[in-house]
Amino acid sequence: MAIIEIENLKKSYRVYQKKEGILASLGGLFKREYREIHAVAGIDLQVEQGEFVAFLGPNGAGKTTTLKLLSGVINPSSGSAKVMGFTPWRRENAYRRKFALVMGQKNQLWWDLPANESFRLHQHIYGVDPTEFKRTQDEITELLNVQHLLGQPVRELSLGERMKMELIAALLHRPEVLFLDEPTIGLDVVAQHNIQQFLKHYQQERKITILLTSHYMKDVAALCKRVVIIADGLIQYDGSLEGIVDRFSSDKIITLQLAETESFDDFQNLDDVIEIEPPKVKFRVQRDDVPKLLSRILASRNVEDIIVEDPPLEDVIASAFSQVEQNRSDADSLHAEAVS
């Protein structure tokens, strides 16, 4: 049985629509217009025990809302979800002892006290056996290399150090399921790398299930075999990272290095030229056309080197997101026509 089962989960809420200007603001005191936001518009997902899944998607796509639903912070409008057999929004203590949510810098730590005091408190709140607690804390602090910071008030720590402490606080009760919302947001490259390495190691060691949202493709590439793209409150893709390219892009990128004698004039007229920087030229070609085109060029030109590659993942995902946007606005205008 899957550890996380989500069936047709929906969450919509009303937001207050405020018009510009003072008069409109005054009007808002008496009568308010609301707009319905479908943050999660019907998600089906199954995650097996020990998977490390990444949620990708543009801002406002519904990633964080999904994590909030799964950790029981909010109730869904409809649909069902089970995590380890529990319905999250019933907020049973038995469930709350078995998972953790790390949400940016929303701290679980006491600001004025050293982190180890907060950790001790977590030990009591979650009822962790003292020796077990000590072992876990030592192990994780060593992995994250923050032993020397445990006695320092949290407010004096740097952003990266605080994030590490947040992670430790979340892991002390050995959650079986971990939800991470943007764990590396705002951190420098080194701190990002540290946290990635730690998560990777910890997940492999403990075989826990992790759901992560991130904007950093590097996080995702380093950590997750499975990627779920959410846009518009719906799952647009569920599969491997590499698979995204096959699914959302039918292009290849070809880079040719020509002999010095060759002229580049012909290439300037090509539609999909990305850049010309003699002696190199880079252009985009439909995947099916690659062999034909290459053989033609090789026959007519003096080519010194050829690189054929997939377009960069960031670009593919960006275009996938805008594709979704496009489809939606098309659907909206169709809907509008149908109504009128």
Binding site: K11, V73, N75, R90, H124, Y126
Partner: protein, 297 residues
């Protein structure tokens, strides 16, 4: 099912208490000064009343020479003693930062912590507050003792008997609980309105006049004519609202202004208000969380 917060083991609460004490000790610097500052307004009250007693005294000599002059049954010494005692009542019942703290947590989303972790928010806040108050009393004992020693002459009748002292202390403790749960309820309104500053302002204003913080409630008129309504007996009104238990009641007990059956009746009403706000805060928490999680966190 939602946890009542009562299922958590006592040792957890004990540890939470310790952590709160430690947190409070971080800021020991402002204690002594803050405590002495508490008496500053009292000092101005003492001078003001001195002038008032002086002007109503039958033979205009120094107030100390005319100890029989009374206003609403208060001799000058009683009046000063009253303000000193009210400072103690308020050291128990005032909850600086509680409502606004809850509102801030709701607004900033920090309230999530209490939905995710197996621990009860009101329980945590209560323990935190007890810890902070205990630390405060510990640090403030010396300055308080000093002020009371210097002012011992104003307590004309000396110490009250043991029974009255016991009721005095019980009413202080209950006043603490009343203050806590009342202000917690105001803070929890933020689930519906996000901002509770104006509500808090109204509360503080009412508190100022109706709790006896500003003047002994015995001075309130019994036949107030206002807006064509009346006569209104304000003394009866304050008996039915919870405010007087935050300042007036313990002081009045100590000074023998309420005695016997009336005293125990007051204590019973106080217990009722404490229970009322405990239940109300619990209901507000449940409904607030329901609304919060329905709305989108």
């Amino acid at each position: 099912m939602e946890s009542l917060g009562l299922t958590v083991r006592p040792v957890t609460w004990w540890h939470f208490f310790q952590v709160s004490v430690n947190e409070r000790l971080v800021y020991r610097g402002d204690f002594i000064l803050g405590t002495l500052m508490r008496f500053l307004p009292t000092l101005t009250q003492i001078f003001l009343w001195w002038a008032i007693y002086d002007s109503v005294a039958t033979n205009p000599t120094a107030v100390g020479d005319a100890p029989d002059t009374q206003i609403a049954g208060f001799r000058y010494g009683d009046m000063v003693a009253y303000y000193l005692l009210v400072t103690i009542s308020r050291a128990f019942s005032s909850m600086p930062g509680l409502s606004s703290g809850i509102a801030l947590q709701v607004r900033e989303g920090e309230i999530k912590k209490f939905l995710i972790q197996p621990v009860d928010m009101l329980g945590c806040l209560l323990l935190q507050r007890i810890a902070h108050k205990l630390v405060y009393y510990l640090m403030a004992t010396l300055p308080f003792a000093l002020v009371f020693f210097l002012c011992r002459g104003f307590f004309i009748d000396g110490w009250p008997d043991a029974e009255i002292l016991a009721v005095f202390f019980v009413s202080l403790i209950l006043g603490f609980l009343l203050g806590f749960f009342l202000e917690a309820c105001i803070g929890l309104v933020s689930f519906w309105f996000l901002e509770v500053t104006s509500l808090m302002f109204i509360y503080m204003l009412m508190n100022f006049f109706l709790s006896g913080h500003m003047f002994p409630l015995d001075l309130l008129p019994t036949d107030l004519q206002i807006l064509g309504i009346g006569p209104l007996n304000l003394r009866i009104v304050v008996d039915f609202v919870p405010f007087k238990y935050l300042a007036y009641f313990p002081a009045a007990v100590f000074l023998g202004k309420v005695e016997g059956a009336e005293m125990y009746q007051g204590l019973a009403v106080l217990v009722f208000w404490v229970m009322f706000f405990i239940v109300l805060s619990r209901i507000m928490w449940w409904r607030g969380v329901k609304r919060y999680s329905g709305f989108g966190g």
